[in-house]
Symmetry: C2
Subunit: 319 residues, 2 copies
Amino acid sequence: MPIAALTLADIRAAHDRIRDKIHRTPVLTSAWLDAEAGAQLYFKCENFQKVGAFKARGAANAVFSLTDAEAAAGVATHSSGNHAAALARAARLRGIPAYIVMPTNAPRVKQEAVRGYGGRIIFCEPTLAAREAACAQVLTETGASLVHPYNDYRVMAGQGTAAVEFMEAVPDLDIIMVPVGGGGLVSGTAVAAKGLRPGLRVVAAEPAQADDAYRSFTDGRLRPVGAGVTIADGLRTSLGALNFPIIREHVDAIVTVSEEAIVAAMRRIWSVLKIIVEPSCAVPYAAILEGRLPVAGRRVGLILTGGNVDLDSLPWMHP
Amino acid sequence: MPIAALTLADIRAAHDRIRDKIHRTPVLTSAWLDAEAGAQLYFKCENFQKVGAFKARGAANAVFSLTDAEAAAGVATHSSGNHAAALARAARLRGIPAYIVMPTNAPRVKQEAVRGYGGRIIFCEPTLAAREAACAQVLTETGASLVHPYNDYRVMAGQGTAAVEFMEAVPDLDIIMVPVGGGGLVSGTAVAAKGLRPGLRVVAAEPAQADDAYRSFTDGRLRPVGAGVTIADGLRTSLGALNFPIIREHVDAIVTVSEEAIVAAMRRIWSVLKIIVEPSCAVPYAAILEGRLPVAGRRVGLILTGGNVDLDSLPWMHP
């Protein structure tokens, strides 16, 4: 049964449910990056999370929220990547099947991850309509439960657990930043952040070339667009209908960044923090690099969302 | 005044001296890598250390061991890379000059790091003889104190602090593995490990193409060789005269690995652990991948020594 709305209590319950199924990821800092930004930056490393992305949280919460009767028929989703692997993993942990509808152009590394966790892949054309049609067919044929990658309160509650851990590790943040695609992470983060510390500013960052969240936020009504052409492949989707009202209520600002800044931010994080992050993950730091958000003298927390990249195809190798 | 020999007490004193000048680096694990190895692997992430390498420890201990009178004239060294940056940083922390003799073929990223910390670079030909001659000249001209990259008890004591932290974090290791080049890290690690837990096996890993430590260890006498032609640029040097007796006494085995295994190990660590490690750093894990050491069912600690790589020139891009 879906939760009626998303509250801090839901996020705390999710944390209790999934705590032993996820990593409590570390927070990294860098004197170099602080000096460059003129701010104190804290990086919550969800790239070290199970399946290499925060998506492990929401998927685990959804799968372990099911009743045994519901779970028996398995779970299904459509996803461009990390949620797919995360759902396959959560399903394996519970011993149930996972049916994953993926676009044919999903990165190879992410397809392999799904197979590695025992997920069953059904390919479709790379449009939202084709994905949803293929997914509906799977649901009809199998009786599986849909676990949408972001338009699902159970998923949002799970994603919000990263912010809870972050604020436990760094209690006095001034700003918390996350990338926004469908809106699952930012919904959970915003509810957790405002629930725990109402004065904390919540800022979402988005590629300018896939700026539906920015447009929706600015216009005050949902403005979905076609799949954006951005290197940040995890952020090409538009905001979910359940996510948008939460974002309107709890998010303070949405900023957009250029493709060049995303690549520069990704490379800077690799070089200085010595960690692997995927392009989508670098979008909030790109906003700082590009001066899209005043951060001077502030304590800024950035959730690094994932680290699944194809090491044979790095953006600075193919300008 | 140099320490007469290397003891656990020296390493503990070093830790007290440098604790507030270094990171206490995290230990990472991976269910994937454990399953592949049939062992429990623990990775101590010195790639996250200040200057991106464990060398920050030894350099800081040496610089902060100097009397004020000694320190006033500065410090000098010859180094192929990470020690150079580490000494420049430690000197800046103490407010004294650092003179760094570097081979002309040192990686660009490591030259920039030295300059970034205010070190003064003196270039020389890429031979040990040329480095030592250039360094001797600098010492004469400036009165600086030599801080050798490995043939120095203060440096060895500093490097040994990583093993102390590692054993505090994972008290029941069966094996601890480090790469060996000049022998500074392995000397400190071995004395710390055997001092704290005599039954712990200490294993050093070395590129087969720069295997002077293996040869020296096997023959029972120091067998220096010319600079090895290995991708592991931090391990091209031969064992130091002060390091060898410590290694003979405290190290249980030295294993060698192929260049192919080094690249495969580096890539595997990037892909699975989502962290940046340099080729030298991947050598112990390469030994596990290549089956050079029986580890089945054992708890194995690997010190990941550094993360300074040129992101424009990755080994799998240029086979």
